[in-house]
Amino acid sequence: MNWLPDIFRRRKIYGDLAEEMRLHLEERTEQLISEGMSRKEAEQAARRAFGNSTLLEERSREVWQMPFVESLGTDLKLVFRRLAKSPGFAATVILTLAIGIGANTAVFSVLNSVLFKPLPYPDPEQLVAVHLTAPGAAGLADFSSGLRLSPSMYFTFAEHNRTFQSMGVWIAGIANVTGLAQPHEVHTALITDGVLQTLSVPPYLGRWLLPSDQNPHGAKAVMLGYGYWQRRFGGDRSVIGRSMAIDSQPREIVGVMPQGFRLVNADFDVIAPLAFDRNKQILAGFGFQGIGRLKPGVPITQANADVARMLPIWMDSWSNGPGIDSHFYEKTWRITPALLPLKEEVIGNIGNVLWLVMGTIGVVMLIACTNVANLLLVRADARRQDLAIRAALGARRGRIAWELLLESLSLGVVGGVLGVGIADESLRLLAAIGPANLPRLSEISLDARSIAFTFALSLLSSLLFGAIPALRYAGTTAALGGAGRTASASRERQRGRDLLVVAQVAMALVLLVSAMLMIRTFQALRNVEPGFTQAEHLQTMRTSIPASLVADPRLVTRIQNNIADKLAAIPGVTSVGFASAMPMEGIESNWDGIYFEGKSMTEVAPLRLFKYVAPGFFRTAGTRLIAGRELTWTDIYGLRPVGIISENLARESWGTPSAALGQRFREFPDMPFHEVVGVVQDVRENGVQEKAPAIVYWPSMTEGIYGPHSFDAARTVTFVLRTDRAGTEGLLSEMQQAVWAVNASLPLASVRTMQEIYSQSLARTSFTLVMLGIAGAMASVLGIIGIYGVISYAVSQRTREIGIRLALGEQKGRLKWMFIRSGLVLTGTGVAIGLAAASGLTRLMKSLLFGVSPLDPFTYVSVLIVLAVSAVLASYLPARRAAAVNPVEALRAE
């Protein structure tokens, strides 16, 4: 590369060249004079023979230049000089583009980080979630993620597989830590051997949990998450080997996992071994999530076949008890493997929402581009004369088009650069807000791919909005004639802007319809009875009494009863209850087969969700009692075999709620039957958009409930308080005192109002709604500005014509109507196109809708009315101006 010294040498080269050419002409002239010409004639003849010296000098110089780069530099200088002369225009366009590109880049970065980037584990393509489906298991339809694995399945799969490098099962949970300052609750990940091997992320400090840690009778080990280690231990490296009490059981800290490590989609504070006791396992107990690392090159289909091969081995190796046919899992439940790439498991169903948001933001960008195109058209129109003169002087069509396009490209690139800044800020904001249901949040960043996207988007959009004026005005030679006067707008010129407005209206309609559908969905969700009332007046709080702290279940119940009494005594609290979990709380549900007396016992009982409740829980939560009564403390302390079921379960089994009273049910063949003493309203346990599952409520302390001959109480429970003071600082401290007055080593966790839990369950819908709402609002404002702009431009262009019309006696009303009508024609065309597009596109968002059809007539009609009214308004304002034109002044202005 020798272009750099060239630049410095050039001045001399150009000087030499010019001198040489001058001397050439001189020599030729003198030659001609000596042949007898006059000096004047000779000079002319010499110049003729030489050719166009300026052009030739230019050509000669170009030999030493990189012509593209240099002429680009000159052109750019011109572009920026011209933009600087109309700062209002430049600022509007650049700001519009920066916001549009910034929003698109931000959303793309989220999409890229969540959906496209590989998981942060080595060789992530080998990782799978070991999922099973069981289409024949009644009640399973309520499961969102198929059938999980049982411990016996884990043992079978881990020992007999041929396609996995490693596999294991895990479950997320909650535990109490005592002995470190205040007692507190931690998020746990309980894992078997094989889980850490599968994820293959080495520990930050110390070591992994080893197979020896999985011995149910051996020493107890635990690993810490990086965040918890930093928070609770200040990042002290000497924690390895220290002991901490988890659920009152001393455990030795053996390692710390590195920063950013997540177990599939779970953030955890501690990882502890599951330590299954192999001798106590039965077939059932499908509560665990399985993950595995496939051998290199093994496809998922092959792994599915491998798991299918192992299922019979599993059914033959284990049993649910004597006399029970193990193979009903095959015959009735029809368990089939359905392994998923682990990434799909992590991402979940957020993909839909993200694509929708991306699409929406993309459409807004398109609308912004059409607006910019419109501005550029007006600007190019104003330069028509200038361009026409240049064309007449011999500027090539391509040359003028290139100049117009270069202006657009410069605007696009400047907008893009600012857009990256905006995107960066938005992502920072997003991380700060931290929407709980957005997976892989910590991985979201602006990477090279996002930057490339921004760049491509800037160029593409500038080409899009720049091409229109460039194509239109590149060849304007004819415009020279009447361009100087305010003649009526030519049809052709107006048509370009009309098209843009039609496109804007169509796109705005699609976005408005989508936004309106989300509003309708939100309304429908709000109208669903969730199974509790006045969520803003419900305060919840979790606490847990581990067996190692208080062994006797009666004492546990007594403590819980005392806490409830103390809480109820707080001023302003009207009632208190507790249960194993509040609805929508996101606590792992318990499921098992529930047998009803008198129903067939040979079949496997359908799976039902079950919870444990204490007296007063339903009254406090506002869950209506349909028939019978709530539980009483006498039921609980007396270990009476009673229970409550949900209305849908009662109807399904016995037809009416009252018919269910007195019927009996049980979980295990050798536990006593429990009598239905109450039927309560259905509760939307998994969020309002999910069907209310059939639920069985056991008393919080029961015999035989945790397996045959066991006797225990629900040890981790959520208390719920009905009070106007819910969510206040004062209530919180009084609650803390109340709990600690009973037992000072109990932690308070998840202190939230029911309203927060409820909103959280609506988070996906409200997030989508807000995004679509913003996009729809932006789109319709841009669209309406578009209509207004086009009509008022038409008015200003036609002032002379209006003047003549008025002078000839045209009525003002008719004149106004003429302009309003052209606005309405544009809107109507846009609406027609938009309706067709919306009816197709909204089908794509079906999975996000609830209780409303994608073709909901109310939505379409209301959007139509809104658009029509705004269009009339947008065209009325300029039309009124047209009617106010003074004919004398309009004509004199020429």
Partner: protein
């Protein structure tokens, strides 16, 4: 107006003729034009100025070098001289040009080519 005999030179032709002229003796721009016009019996109507872009290309490619000096008629002139590299380049160009010319000539005389 274009004269019926006037024909654009093919790219590189002017450069080749300049190099050939300079191979005989170093010359300045004006002398080169004179030389080419005389040698071609004025058949080639070359704009005199078009020599200069061609000379700049040759300079850039180091096929010629230039030096300011004074001519025999006592004029200040910039004299061009072919370089060793330019000589080699010229030989290659001429042989490839001759092959091309031969080919064109064969095609333009169809009768003879079928007779042989």
């Amino acid at each position: 107006m274009t004269k019926p005999t006037a024909r654009d030179l093919f790219p590189g032709a002017l450069e080749m003729m300049i190099l050939e002229s300079l191979r005989r003796q170093p010359a300045h721009g004006y002398a080169l034009v004179q030389h080419i016009q005389q040698r071609s019996n004025n058949l080639l109507q070359v704009e005199e100025g078009s020599l200069y872009p061609a000379l700049q290309r040759l300079l850039k490619a180091s096929l010629v070098k230039a030096r300011w000096g004074v001519s025999s008629t006592n004029r200040r002139v910039r004299t061009y001289q072919i370089t060793a590299f330019g000589l080699r380049h010229l030989e290659q160009e001429i042989s490839s040009f001759e092959r091309m010319f031969e080919g064109i000539a064969l095609v333009l005389k169809p009768g003879e080519s079928t007779a042989t």
